[in-house]
């Protein structure tokens, strides 16, 4: 009998939750709105909104920016919901500094991405809208100014990412647009021509509605002036024609040193723009094997993320899809093509989830990128399915196989919501990546990582000749007998922005033998060794410029 008790105790200890919900404790109490929560009459009410982990005041602590949409019937004047900026106070709590930062804007916000567009050392913000997107320049004094290009137009922007596609040292911008939406001429579920899903009357779209066009903006800023010029047609971004574009992930999938762009498309083939090094792109998703499902079907692509999950040094892709479908895990074949590995990798267990934000995150610091996905349906009143769905945490076992460890991860992961946006970042600088989730018409979820500590190192890159955010830089870290690689990336997941710093799990290794940085301009820098368990700032051409131990 005693042995039984011992075993039970051991098992219990091994499965202690390692993600705890801390939003309320951290002071994140605001509710973020996207349409009616009981009945979605129009597709514009279904996408939810994005979140960002970024350090707007350069105090070394991740702050939070969260986007809100609105309700179609509107709000009384003066009580409209606005986006929020929360400053990290350093004690695992946040204060709302939205008004002080000049960021209190109402509207139908959707996504967010960050990057230092004017290379002044402070992260700027781009917010997509159903309406006119907004670019905020960070003045560096805790406030922001609206520097939106005057000809930006009014569209339904969704995912976005800053990317220096022509390697001129300035961050350009890619924006996905979803539907050329016409509220007046779109049928409602309670109208004369409702759309149907599984015999239930539901809102219409995106099929049957006019798709949007992805947009690429070239950064023409000069000292003191932020200026962007639209180059979508010239650069080949418009060539595939209108699509229902959602999330944007940039990655150098063919390792030619030039950033490529992957866009998850809803209900149509997804797009992979291959950078041709001359300021133009060629769409190659079908040839590369990342346009469709394993059996050649178009899918309802939602969120995307990229990482080298199998440790071969080449970035792979993950994409979430609609319910009754599997996500896609595309393994990089290292020849410009990908092989769908969803089922073989263990991600093919359930068709029950409608996935949105997806991210690779090495939550246990074992050096193998795990996958976190957030889920939720689009039809709140439906009879055939769950509107609020749990999240999924897949642990990477290291041999290309993942296991669902959501239940072990704890109630924060198992909590059901209609989640959309997802950002990854270590907001308490303890060396363990945390998770920020936006939930439809609810407050945010902040999942604090309390997993047993493995060794890790976090690298913050600062560009000098290249863009200051070092977006597009690829870092290879050698520790023990393994080389781990990651890319600094804006945007990705779903409508959201993760920490630009790179977290490398080192498992049992107490130091990194070497670090190789391929800066976006093409220069390669090598340094090391570096001790584990610290946050190291690496400045282009200057090596290590600051260190800070992980917090305890």
């Amino acid at each position: 009998m005693r042995l039984v008790f011992v075993l039970a105790f051991t098992a219990s200890a091994a499965t202690a939750p390692f993600f705890t919900e801390e939003a309320l404790r951290a002071g994140l109490k605001d509710v973020f709105i996207c349409g009616d929560d009981r009945q979605k009459n129009y597709i514009v009410e279904t996408l939810g909104t994005g979140v960002a982990f970024f350090d707007f005041d350069n105090d070394g602590l991740l702050d939070i920016f969260a986007v809100t949409a609105s309700k179609l019937e509107g709000f009384p004047s003066g009580s409209e919901p606005t986006n929020h900026l929360y400053r990290n106070k350093g004690d695992r709590t946040f204060e709302d500094v939205t008004a002080r930062a000049d960021l209190a804007k109402a509207g139908w916000g959707q996504g967010v991405c960050t990057g230092d567009v004017d290379n002044d050392g402070f992260e700027d913000i781009y917010v997509t809208y159903w309406g006119q997107d907004v670019l905020y320049r960070n003045r560096g004094n805790g406030t922001f100014e609206n520097v939106t290009p005057p000809n930006i137009g009014s569209r339904w922007g969704t995912g976005c990412a800053f990317v220096d596609y022509d390697r001129d040292g300035k961050l350009d911008l890619i924006v996905a647009n979803y539907v050329d939406f016409d509220l007046k001429n779109t049928p409602r579920p309670d109208g004369p021509k409702p759309c149907q899903w599984k015999n239930e009357k539901v809102m219409c779209g995106p099929q049957g509605l006019k798709p949007g066009l992805n947009r690429l903006w070239h950064n023409d800023s000069t000292a003191g002036t932020v200026r962007f010029t639209e180059v979508s047609a010239k650069a080949g971004i418009e060539a595939p024609g209108p699509r229902y574009g959602l999330s944007v992930t940039t990655l150098d999938y063919d390792r030619d040193g030039w950033p490529d762009i992957y866009i998850a498309i809803d209900s149509q083939a997804s797009l992979l723009y291959h950078n041709k090094h001359d300021g133009t792109f060629e769409e190659t998703a079908l040839e590369s094997g990342v346009a469709l499902s394993e059996d050649g079907r178009e899918q309802a692509g939602m969120g995307t993320a990229a990482a080298d999950y199998d440790g071969d040094g080449w970035p792979d892709l993950v994409k979430t899809n609609f319910i009754d479908d599997l996500p896609n895990l595309y393994r990089n074949n290292r020849d410009g093509t990908f092989a769908e590995s969803t089922v073989q990798a263990g991600l093919g267990k359930s068709l029950r989830f409608l996935g949105w934000g997806a991210a690779f995150v090495d939550y246990d610091s074992d050096g193998w990128p795990d996958i976190f996905m957030v889920n939720g349906h689009v039809y709140p009143g439906m009879k055939s399915g769950e509107y609020r769905q749990r999240r999924i945490l897949y642990r990477n076992g290291g041999a290309g196989r993942f296991a669902d460890v959501s239940a072990e991860a704890g109630p924060g992961v198992m909590e059901k919501s209609s989640a959309r946006g997802l950002a990854v970042g270590d907001y308490d600088n303890d060396g363990r990546p945390d998770l920020l989730v936006s939930n439809m018409n609810e407050r945010l979820s902040l999942l604090h990582n309390t997993h047993a500590r493995g060794h890790a190192i976090t690298l913050r890159l600062v560009g000098q000749k290249t863009n200051r955010s070092a977006i597009g830089a690829v870092v290879r870290v050698k520790a023990g007998n393994r080389v781990r690689s990651q890319e600094v990336r804006s945007g990705s997941t779903f409508l959201s922005q993760s920490d630009l710093r790179l977290h490398f799990g080192l498992a049992g290794q107490q130091q990194v033998e070497s670090v190789e940085i391929a800066w976006p301009g093409g220069a390669v820098e090598k340094l090391g060794p570096l001790a584990a368990d610290q946050i190291v700032t690496l400045t282009e051409g200057r090596g290590v410029t600051s260190r800070r131990s992980f917090s305890r």
């Binding site: 599984k198 015999n199 469709l292 394993e294 059996d295 009754d324 074949n333 089922v343």
Partner: protein, 415 residues
């Protein structure tokens, strides 16, 4: 299904209605399906509870490729006999063929309750479950089908595909191989086996199976070429992979264009309806003509065009469209009625009479049909027959002043 059904019908219906049914049977035997349809429709008009008439109508329409009319007849049969096995099976098959899985679901659930030993019903139900994401239900139903009939190809292929998609390739492959042996000439079996082999990385065998699928009728299926591209990719043959992807793209594009044409046609019809309401008949006719070019086999569309041209007094065009609608859907009374009106206005009285008589035999409860019939008969000098047609019209619609007036005038002219 036809002859037992017909014999059963003859024993069940009244002598008067049985006469129409027997006529239909004779026409059917002579393979004059248009006449047979008209006779069977008349029989169903005569005795609305004559399930067999609807079943035979459905059968004829299905054989002619008119699935919409076939389904309509089957649903009428099911209204009369909700557990009719023939109707349940045929209607669910037509729904599945149209990709309307959720509509097939209740029919199949009824079918397996009514006929629990029908392997095909369990397999069809499993396919619907699989399509709607109910993996557990699908596997259970496929396995039940195989218990009932271990060599049932759709169940073997379906279960094999289900298991392969779930990553259980070791269980899937034997089922798919067995299915392939059972029906070596079915492209689907080779396609599913090839797809599963691709997933397992057995690209050479996959490529051979997929090539075979293409030769056996899968060459119009884009997915065959997508899988073939995967095989060639796995075998490191970039040129063949590119070629297969190009074929996939072409076929997919064709499918999309066809779908887009259908969607556009529906939009034009909607727009035309609004224009008709606004009195803009010329513009409405132009849009309907565009819709017809996009969807030439749509009898309803042809009928609308006939009606519009009739209203615009373009009798030749109206006739052409009405005849085309009838050739697709010969047992629809409205089409014959319209053709009768066209011929009447064109002064082709014999043709008008024939069409209106057909309309009356197909639909004996419409006053306007008998009224038009009376008018034509009167013009032909057949006063007594005209009076009896007008009397029928008045009986059916006693409040219609025109019918009453026509009857009065016909009686006066006879005196």
């Amino acid at each position: 299904m036809t002859f037992p059904v017909i014999l059963l019908a003859l024993t069940q219906t009244s002598p008067a209605c049985g006469k129409s049914f027997a006529t239909g049977m004779e026409d059917y035997r002579r393979q004059d399906f248009t006449k047979a349809l008209i006779a069977f429709r008349a029989a169903s008009q005569c005795d609305p509870r004559l399930v067999q008439a609807h079943l035979v109508i459905a059968n004829i329409y299905a054989e002619r490729g008119n699935d919409g009319e076939a389904l309509a007849a089957l649903l009428q049969a099911l209204q009369i006999e909700p557990a009719n096995l023939l109707a349940l099976r045929a209607a669910s098959n037509l729904y599945l063929k149209a990709g309307l899985h959720m509509k097939a679901l209740p029919l199949l659930e009824t079918l397996v309750r009514t006929d629990p030993k029908a392997a095909d019903a369990h397999a069809d139900l499993a396919s619907v479950y699989a399509a709607s994401g109910n993996r557990e239900g699908a596997e259970k139903s496929f396995r039940r089908a195989l218990e009932l009939q271990p060599d049932y190809f759709p169940a073997l292929a379906g279960l094999g595909n289900l298991l392969a998609r779930a990553g259980d390739d070791s269980a899937a492959l034997p089922l798919l191989r067995q299915a392939g042996k059972l029906q070596p000439a079915a492209w689907e079996g080779h396609f599913l086996l090839g797809s599963a082999l691709n997933r397992l990385g057995q690209f050479a065998e996959a490529q051979a199976e997929l090539e075979q699928a293409g030769k056996l009728g899968g060459k119009a299926e884009p997915q065959v070429f997508y899988q073939l591209a995967r095989s060639w990719g796995g075998l490191g043959n970039a040129a063949e992979r590119k070629q297969a992807l190009a074929t996939f793209s072409t076929l997919t594009k064709q499918e999309k264009e066809s779908e887009e044409r259908r969607r556009q046609a529906a939009a034009w019809v909607d727009e035309a309806r609004k224009l008709v309401q606004a009195g803009q008949l010329e513009e409405a006719a132009r849009l309907l003509e565009l819709a017809r070019e996009a969807s030439p086999g749509d009898a309803t569309l042809l009928f609308r065009l006939a009606g519009l041209n009739f209203d615009l007094h373009r009798l030749d065009a109206a006739r052409e469209y009405a005849q085309a609608a009838i050739s697709i859907s010969p047992a629809t009374w409205l089409y014959h009625y319209l053709l009768g009106l066209v011929e009447r206005d064109a002064k082709h009285l014999s043709d008008a009479l024939a069409s209106l008589e057909t309309a009356a035999s197909l639909q004996s409860t419409e006053g306007p049909v008998f009224n038009a019939l009376g008018e034509v008969l009167l013009e032909q000098g057949q006063s007594q027959a005209a009076i009896s047609a007008f009397e029928k019209a008045v009986n059916l619609a006693p409040d219609d002043a025109t019918f009453r007036q026509n009857l009065t005038q016909a009686k006066r002219s006879q005196k």
